[in-house]
Symmetry: C2
Subunit: 438 residues, 2 copies
């Protein structure tokens, strides 16, 4: 629906700004991927095969080669990069695509979290060296962290995925993981180092300065409309949504209150002027002058939509040159002079942004646990994230999953602590977060 | 590729501005349309059936109901509007979607003009009355005209489609038609009045102020990446593209010229400063400091890409405080003082925009003909548009098409002239343009 879509547009705007500043270019690649493309990288195919939607007919005719709806575009992008990249002068190639992708879901669908089709951004870059590509992987992940924390007010944990949880075809996968109020993890963005896995199979190579032919090192990274799901789950109360101001489609709403036609004219004039002023000063403001709806209806309506600030103007306020300002996050109500509204709104929006992030950060802390033994682990992992040591064997990981339904979420960067695996008790030095997930 | 895609992003930005100013909201609807949706409106189905791509499998499983890839979204939008619209308070509902659509093409594909998948914008609106909906149809068409002429420098003819050329399911279709250098028509945007055709079948109704249930009147309108095809065909010469400044991703390019490392440092410093200044003052400027490419290579490269202004800075210019400015459209070369560059570029960009539109307008005039009789018509329609009278019968239209491959392109608004049908000679008062088309 338009309201949630406009939050997605805001995310696009913020993220486009980040990637364009760092010389990435938006592009568009075909939706239909021929079956033969998937057959080139076997790990990738194995991972995605069960989720592919196949187009087999056009009109009444059977297609010669069936085509898949893209579940992700690595294969298609490398098909083109192999034509576009010739020499070191063409590198790095830094591309990004905003598009729809489709994955057949066996589990029940859930709005914004699991659906056959979703919208996302997928970055695809090619580099001359491993080092450069690995820097890119981390840069993209840092962009995601900034977007999640600074704009969406969603605190995240950064780290690397285990082998069994990495992207199909990647050398390794890095991730940002958010914690929902029920303690479950929501994977909110991933950034992959693909090494030469794809460039070898798709012949994406370049002549270096000495004329030697070399494979490029590639990366890919994505965030999706899942972020809207995280936003809703984290930023809601009994009255509805509670949007962080930096991402809210409407930051302030003005609701006029009147009981006579004369009051209506006077109140509307002031409200309309105020709305124009705030908009001009970069506070996205809506003057709700809808007919046939009571002020009470409008209060509820905009609280449900999570608009950070409500401004009420009635005939009595008018006489005293006042307006009433109500915060969505705390419910706090203050009466202020009309000429102070702009200044106060600016300050309040900053405060609300901070307050929502603080609240979410506290929630996060309260949902991260440690465990001294496997019994305690099982008890805690039913409630939230558990940070433990793990020996690194896929068997232990698999057994934990079978026991608890929890999966490994992330191996945090630069954590070094020695001890014993939470499952098998062997000496371990890999720290990892386990949690149930969406 | 990124460069053409960034022109599409510019088009999106301009068009979003127009529609948001007029209270339209962007939204997103599903890609997959169940077969049952198409069965509801028979004219619509008949028109689109041969072009539908069908998804029949996910993974190894056959789907219960096959789903089509959207060729356009009327059916899906009305499915949702029937849930969202309850009363007069919900009207008008003014939605727009930027997305990909797919249509199976039997004819050979052609980049930007005919391809299985393309990007477009589709507006979908619901109104209480016929009058309001018809106003909307014309408003959208006027937006398209403004976008084509003012930004893309593509002059267009406005009018209504004949019955046989209208959108499948519409009451009537309006269109903007551009003329390509070879005299062929390129349909560049259409806006449809759909009456109650869809609202009846999809039960999109509302309670009016008296509580009576009524069907809404709907419109839909679209422009696509076809516009990029028109832009390329109209705005090119032997050197490559020639982009109108208002839509060019890069409006000015600075190419440094140097033969020694010392010169390189000095030239680059001035070039980089100038680039920052121009960008700050809203002239999108690229400083081409690529290594390993000669100035000559760069000149050709940016001419091919159609950048309106090239700025050359060499060591001799530097000494005299000069730069050289070259216009892409005329090739004119002038030497100007560094402090004048901003002012001169601003003026030049306006002149170039005007000049390209003027050139295209003259081309258009030279390709519109009249005809005294059918023999002359046949001769002229091989060269361009022919404006004639037509009796209104589909038979005459069909016979003209069979004879000449030309189709009716548009019935201009408010043309009233009496005479005889160019084909059957019967008394006629409908003016219509015929042309071959892409």
């Amino acid at each position: 629906m338009p309201y949630m879509y406009s939050i997605w547009e805001n995310i696009q705007e913020k993220f486009n700004h980040m990637i364009k500043e760092t010389n990435h270019l938006n592009a568009y690649f075909p939706l239909f991927i021929p079956e033969s493309f998937f057959l080139k990288e076997s790990e990738h195919l194995k991972g995605f095969a069960p989720e592919l939607f196949w187009v087999t007919k056009s009109g009444d005719r059977e297609l010669g080669e069936k085509v898949a709806i893209r579940p992700t575009s690595e294969t298609m992008v490398y098909h083109f990069m192999s034509k576009w990249i010739r020499s070191w002068r063409d590198l790095p190639m830094l591309l990004n695509q905003w598009c729809n992708v489709a994955r057949a879901e066996i589990k029940a669908t859930r709005p914004f979290l699991r659906s056959s089709e979703f919208l996302w951004q997928e970055g695809h870059t090619a580099h001359a060296t491993k080092e450069e590509a690995e820097k890119e992987v981390i840069m993209a992940l840092e962009f995601y962290k900034e977007l999640a924390e600074k704009y969406l007010a969603i605190p995240v944990i950064l780290g690397t995925k285990t082998e069994s949880e990495k992207f199909a075809g990647a050398v390794y996968t890095t991730t940002i993981e958010a914690i929902m109020p029920d303690g479950k993890a929501l994977q909110s963005g991933t950034s992959h180092y693909l090494g030469e896995n794809f460039s070898r199979h798709f012949d994406v190579s370049y002549a270096d300065k000495d004329g030697n032919n070399k494979n490029v090192h590639t990366t890919s990274w994505g965030i999706s409309t899942r972020l809207l799901g995280a936003l809703i789950m984290l930023n809601s109360d009994d009255k509805g949504l509670m949007l962080p101001p930096k991402i809210a489609p409407i930051q302030a709403v003005i609701v006029p209150i009147f009981y006579s036609e004369e009051d209506k004219a006077n109140v509307s004039e002031v409200a309309s002027k105020l709305s124009k002023l705030l908009n001009k000063k970069d506070i996205t403001t809506k003057f709700d002058d809808r007919e046939g709806r009571s002020p009470g209806y409008k209060f509820n309506y905009w609280e449900l939509k999570g608009v950070p600030i409500r401004i009420e103007i009635g005939p009595r306020d008018l006489k005293e040159n006042n307006v009433v300002i109500v915060r969505r996050d705390t419910g706090e109500k203050i009466t202020v002079k009309q000429e102070e509204v702009l200044k106060i709104c600016k300050t309040l929006l900053k405060k609300i942004q901070k307050n929502i992030f603080k609240k979410n950060k506290e929630l996060m802390s309260s949902l991260i646990f440690t465990a001294k033994n496997y019994d305690e682990f099982k008890e805690k992992v039913a409630k939230g994230f558990v940070k433990v040591l793990w020996c690194g064997s896929p068997e232990c990981e698999e057994k934990i999953k079978a026991d608890t339904t929890a999966t490994s979420r992330a191996i945090p960067f630069k954590e070094s602590k020695k001890g014993n695996c939470i499952y098998c008790n062997k000496p371990s030095e890999i720290t990892v977060y386990f949690a149930r997930s969406y």
